[in-house]
Symmetry: C2
Subunit: 313 residues, 2 copies
């Protein structure tokens, strides 16, 4: 099977018809219709085997995750997810692996109402680059730069699950709920669309809350004070016995949460919460003084350095 | 240096301000303004070291080529090139390599009036995925599927240079003009915009004329008859002593030309030629009977199998 047959067999079936796709997979470019009055939102992310996912990760989970991490960036802008391209580099043409990969990728495409409109398949060390395209009404997308002193810092869902799952990987009693959070992150697309109407600023949490919130604070020229006791925990995370400092470290610096962090005025919190399909928890407050500080369970406030996951260090 | 510093040092300077970029590098997504009445054209291509370019290729040439092969796809649709994202996977943070890569990538960005609007930098085996975004008036982009019996098959520029350069790589007397054609392909963007007004169908020649024209014929449900004597040769290519069959094979099946192949009615050829910045040569004719046939210098007509470069075979 050459790459053209491979595209026809595995990827063309994922390129479902959509009213905003004038031309899908199979020509030099896809042709797409951005709704009038909307801006195009574009993001791209690469997943490398052994770096962004453990080598033993199931193909279907890799497919899901490669798409999820990109859709999460659209969610963070409050953009409607519309189209993706997939550039897949594979060591060999492995039918079982490809079938699995496409099942995971396709499941999230379908769940998100997103169309696969193009891509490229090459031979080489396993690596997946997805480019996700969406749209938002002109001037209305959420940016990192709008946070204001007095805003609440809020996060969707729960923090730390994926980091805990990664640490416990291979343990026979790893709760499936934690493993699911590592392998099948849920891009908060619906939440992003809703939060766009309430938030001053937003970012998605991919490298840990401290690091990603740090980017938002830099972009906004402000600081923040968080409370360790407020950081939302899932049931499976809360049940796992850990010293408090370790718990907080996983929630602040662990990666792969793919939740949204948004900054909004306190008087909008309740209205936003009432319209979301996920919990929204206030975990701190934006202040004028730069830097990120955390008040621990012991009531002591300490500066926390932003150290999310970084390549090349 | 971590990846954020790396982006600031090397890539953010390439993200030149452009009126259609509402938000460039540095947030979760870029925000872009597609002109009213235009469709978005999207394409993505990956270059893997040792597969899409020889391992000893200079970093600046890799940067140029990674962008060129994607812009060539926009050219083939007759789209205006507007924006690109760059996903770069690197074995190490090598300042000299990055400086060279960005010089080549940046030179073509500048020459093409295209803005770098986002990307991703990860550590791993060298691989470059570019997603190129452009636009064309709705319904006016050139597709592969419109060729009609009676159309002339035309190609821009000359064929076979890059394939000859690749074969002679390392020879001390390799003419620089051939090497330039391998390392610095020129995406035919201006030609594509012009040809959009004349052509029924188009494709870019990346895997060899026979293979790529084959895709166009399949999409259009037609066949074609080519003449070996008509295939355009550069001066450097024509000067190189070769048996006629070998010459034709390089021109038909050699890759990396990045010229355009277009099908247009004979009475439009002269007008199109007069408005182009590159030569446009008629090399054959579209016929109703499927398949691709070639009349050699000896006057004998033979079917030719499409075999461009294929991964996974």
């Amino acid at each position: 099977m050459d790459e053209f047959q491979l595209i026809r067999r595995y990827f063309q079936p994922l390129g479902a018809a959509s009213a905003d796709v004038a031309l899908g997979i199979g020509d030099d470019c896809a042709l797409l219709q951005v709704p009038p009055g909307e801006e195009l939102a574009v993001t791209t992310d690469t997943l490398v085997a052994g770096r962004h996912f453990p080598l033993q990760t199931a193909a279907c989970d890799i497919g899901w995750k490669a798409l999820a991490v990109n859709l999460s960036d659209l969610a963070a802008m409050g953009a409607m997810a519309r189209w993706v391209t997939l550039a897949l580099t594979l060591p060999e043409n492995d039918a079982e692996w490809l079938t699995g990969f496409c099942a995971g990728f396709g499941a999230l495409l379908h769940a998100s109402g997103v169309a696969l409109v193009g891509g490229d398949t090459t031979r080489g060390p396993l690596s997946i680059t997805v480019t996700a395209l969406g749209s938002a009404p002109a001037g209305r997308a959420m940016r990192r730069s709008g946070a204001q002193p007095g805003d609440l810092v809020c996060v969707t869902g729960a923090l730390g699950d994926a980091a805990l799952a990664l640490r416990r990987l291979g343990e026979p009693d790893l709760p499936p709920a934690l493993r699911e959070r590592l392998d099948r992150p849920q891009p908060r697309l619906a939440a992003g669309l809703t939060l766009r109407q309430y938030a001053h600023a937003a970012i998605d949490i991919s490298d840990g809350l401290a690091g990603d919130l740090g980017h938002l604070l830099d972009a906004s020229g402000v600081g923040a004070e968080l409370e360790a006791a407020s950081l939302p925990q899932s049931y499976a995370f809360a049940r796992h016995a850990m010293p408090p400092a370790e718990r907080t470290a996983l929630q602040l610096h662990g990666g792969d949460d793919y939740e949204l962090c948004v900054c909004l005025p306190p008087d909008r919190l309740e209205a936003a919460q009432g319209r979301l399909d996920v919990p929204l928890t206030a975990v701190g407050r934006i202040v004028a003084e730069p830097g990120l500080r955390l008040t621990g369970a012991d009531g002591v406030t300490m500066p926390i350095p932003p150290h999310g996951y970084r390549h090349f260090t």
